[in-house]
């Protein structure tokens, strides 16, 4: 029932000798007891419940706006307590440093004066938001909500792959996937001691509310509308937080105060959770053709009359080229060594790195610095000679536009799939996106869980939902649980 032919050097459930890892023993035994038919029934019931609940995303390339469920992979991913405390500490450290970094580059720019990062890297970036300079958000917090993508390499070490400090999405799937698990595999879920994730909306609300001076602030979530691929998440978070879900057309700014239009007139909005790119939030300041934003919003923000989360202009910090400098950023602001390492990164903007990239293209993953969602990525080992040659030209034309990393053997995990008509558990590559929220006092809380994304295509390393990825529930275990299992093993 478990085919591990495609397993990476590090597999989450099986060690190198093929033995089941402790945390997975009960789960694997459980699925074996269900048999292929049983698991298939569970899968169908999970899919149906997601479709009926409307847990779907819109496929942009389809003119009729077809909705699909984000493929849900039944087998949960386990993270032992000791692994989790390491991840958690690493993320708190990273988000704290990134907030200090953003506050610095929009004010004194000490890190540039001290030549830790080349000035051109920041000020020359299209993502550097001049409108933010000199503007101090409440508490100096820029990244209120962040999602940090982690992978596990050959030796099982967690590494940071990417920061998402603008509007990271996926947290609604974390909560929904758990609900599905509790519906289709209640026995298994209760046999593990899994940390809950359903409290995320309260966590988020409390963090957002902490930035407002008002005792009961009006919090609203700004969505681009129902055609946005993440609309489900926007609606989910708004309703779970008891906040208003608003579109640009529902809001207006008058005398630098943000209001929403209600059936009883105007109501003041204190905190606006932006689920819209900075470029679109205010046509008077950013893209003038944006119909999704609110004219005058930046003025209201500058006057301190509304809190925007996340702050505009964070893109400069999660830019893929800046990523290469992130260990330096942590050392500079916190005077600490990074807890979570990053993947070695070559910058097209550095002549030496560029030469290496051109010479070793077949062994590298090359990514455009300013794109997300897995678009424009080329995986050297998977590209044809012609594709590589064509890409080289692009790289030479715009070297600063690209970064490269050695191809990482992402860890694998069993996934229930149909491969050539044969249904069972096959090894597929996965990553992990934990979510962190930051409060006005600068404290960072990490949700004990996260979105585990799976590359469902055989051999694929790209986990993005827009590129055929799926998701799994992520079970972060309480310490007692893994202690017990380890204890049992020794005996």
């Amino acid at each position: 029932m478990f085919d591990t032919t495609d397993a990476a050097p590090f597999d989450e459930s099986f060690d190198q000798s093929g033995k089941v890892r402790n945390a997975y023993a009960a789960a694997i035994a459980y699925f074996k007891r269900q048999g292929v038919d049983g698991v298939e029934r569970m899968q169908q019931s999970a899919d149906l419940s997601l479709l009926n609940q409307g847990v779907t995303f819109t496929v942009y390339s389809d003119a009729r706006g077809t909705e699909k469920i984000f493929p849900f992979d039944l087998m949960p991913r386990m993270i032992a307590a000791s692994e989790w405390s390491h991840i958690e500490a690493g993320i708190v450290q990273r988000v704290t440093a990134m907030n200090l970094f953003l506050e610095d580059i929009y004010h004194e720019q000490k890190i540039l004066r001290n030549r830790i990062i080349p000035t051109s890297q920041i000020l020359g970036s299209s993502l550097y938001c001049r409108e933010m300079s000199g503007l101090t958000p409440v508490g100096g917090v820029h990244a209120h909500i962040s999602g940090i993508d982690l992978i596990r390499n050959q030796s099982g070490e967690f590494m940071v792959l990417e920061d998402n400090l603008r509007c990271p999405s996926g947290v609604s799937y974390v909560v929904e996937n758990r609900m599905v698990c509790s519906r289709v595999m209640p026995e298994l879920l209760s046999s593990y001691r899994v940390r809950p994730v359903s409290q995320y909306p309260q966590m988020l609300y409390e963090a957002l509310a902490s930035f407002s001076a008002s005792a009961s602030p009006m919090v609203a979530v700004l969505t681009p509308g129902i055609y946005n691929s993440a609309y489900f998440e926007h609606a989910f978070l708004a309703s779970q937080m008891g906040a208003e879900l608003v579109e640009g057309q529902d809001l207006l700014v008058s005398d630098d105060v943000l209001y929403m239009k209600t059936t009883h007139g105007l109501k003041r909005v204190d905190v606006l959770y932006l689920r819209l790119d900075t470029d679109f939030i205010d046509p008077l300041v950013f893209r003038p053709d944006s119909m999704l934003g609110v004219p005058g919003l930046m003025h209201a923000y500058r006057s301190g009359n509304v809190v925007l989360a996340n702050a505009p202009g964070n893109g400069v910090a999660d830019d893929k080229a800046l990523y290469a400098y992130s260990p330096e950023i942590i050392r500079y602001y916190l005077n600490e060594e990074p807890i979570l390492p990053i993947v070695p990164t070559y910058l097209g903007s550095r002549p030496k790195d560029l030469k290496y990239m051109l010479d070793h293209l077949a062994e590298l993953v090359v990514k455009p610095t300013d794109a997300s969602g897995g678009y424009g990525i080329i995986v050297g080992s998977h590209a044809s000679k012609a594709e590589l040659a064509e890409f080289k030209l692009k790289l030479i034309a715009e070297p600063a536009h690209y970064i490269a990393q050695p191809i990482q053997q992402l860890s694998t995990h069993p996934s229930f799939l149909d491969q050539d008509g044969d249904k069972q558990f096959y090894s597929r590559h996965i990553d992990l996106r934990p979510f962190a929220v930051c409060s006005a006092d600068g404290s960072v809380k990490v949700l004990s869980g996260g979105l585990t994304r799976v590359a469902l295509k055989r051999g694929s390393l790209v986990v993005n939902s827009s590129q055929g990825g799926g998701s799994k529930d992520t079970w972060v275990l309480y310490p007692e649980n893994s202690d017990l299992i380890t204890g049992g093993n020794h005996a």
Binding site: L51, N52, Q53, G54, G225, I226, Y231, A235, A238, S239, E244, L245, V246, E247, Q249, D250, L252, V253, S254, D255, V257, Y259, M260, K261, T262, T263, H264, G265, L266, R268, L284, P295, G296, H299
Partner: protein, 348 residues
Amino acid sequence: MLSRTARSLYRLGFLIERTENIARILDVNRRMSVEHEVFSELDVWSPILEITHNRQGFEARFGEICEASVVQLLLTDEENPYSVLACLRQTREIARSVRELISEEIWLHINLFYHEMERELTEGNLHTWGDFSERIHMFANAFLGLSYNTMVRGDAWQFMRLGTTLERARMTQRILQIKYHLLLPTADDVGSPLDLHQWQSLLRSVSGYEAYRRLYQAKIEPHRVYSLMLLNPGFPRSIHYSIREVSLALRELGMKNESQYTLYQEVERFLDDLRGGAASSEIIRLGLNKYLNGVSKRCARIDRMINIAFFDSITVTLTNDQSNRLTVQIPQQQQHLHSVSAVKQLNQ
């Protein structure tokens, strides 16, 4: 509540009511067309196009009027924004956008039916429309039952009720007008089996045949049919009942500004006319068709006023002198905006 959301809920009530009514009207005509052989000179399909305002578009696209093409236009036509299919798609889209305000049960009900319909459509199984329209009835009535039983009586429910009941009043008025458009072959046919058959079908289309029999026994007299469908306060599809529901919903929503108050007064005046003897004497004075045209105009006016009072009360314009400052125009709402008292109305 957000104005946009309120409008969506109003539209939700409206769309489901309309969907059901199209199915009802088609049903009546199907009953009539069963006897088509006997009354071959009777054109039962043209009036439908009249009352659903589809005639012009229809002739341009299909030419000759026949059952199959009318049914296609009204049920599954993708280009007709008022086809049942288009209404259901819109319904689902709106439900998705106000999901957090409707009950879980209502959302599941709409979403399930939508997926079922889309699936059958792609599989080409939607041709048996008799069965389809039966399911639309079930869908719409289950929706009303669910909203009655699972929604808190707050603003969300009131806006849905407003949309449902105003559209119901308008549809009952349109159904009554079918009879006007359905000309009898000759004057001798008044009171003939054909005439009676038409009245019966009409009553059936508003689920009113049994109600009529209980009130007036089997003998069908036109003025009694009007009286039931227009003026009866207890018959749930009568115009009187529907407008009273509109008035109740508005009272629950409250009157926070002048335009909301004028709207309420307008509805109350209409209700007074329906309640007292005014309506009966008006019908006699004007004739049924003219009177119904008046009803149609009044409903349209109420719809417009609802839009202004609740959904479109605020407009924003860019001022000329300072391109980065905005002016807000809020008719009759200034008294609620202490904090924006300094609003400049440069464009007036």
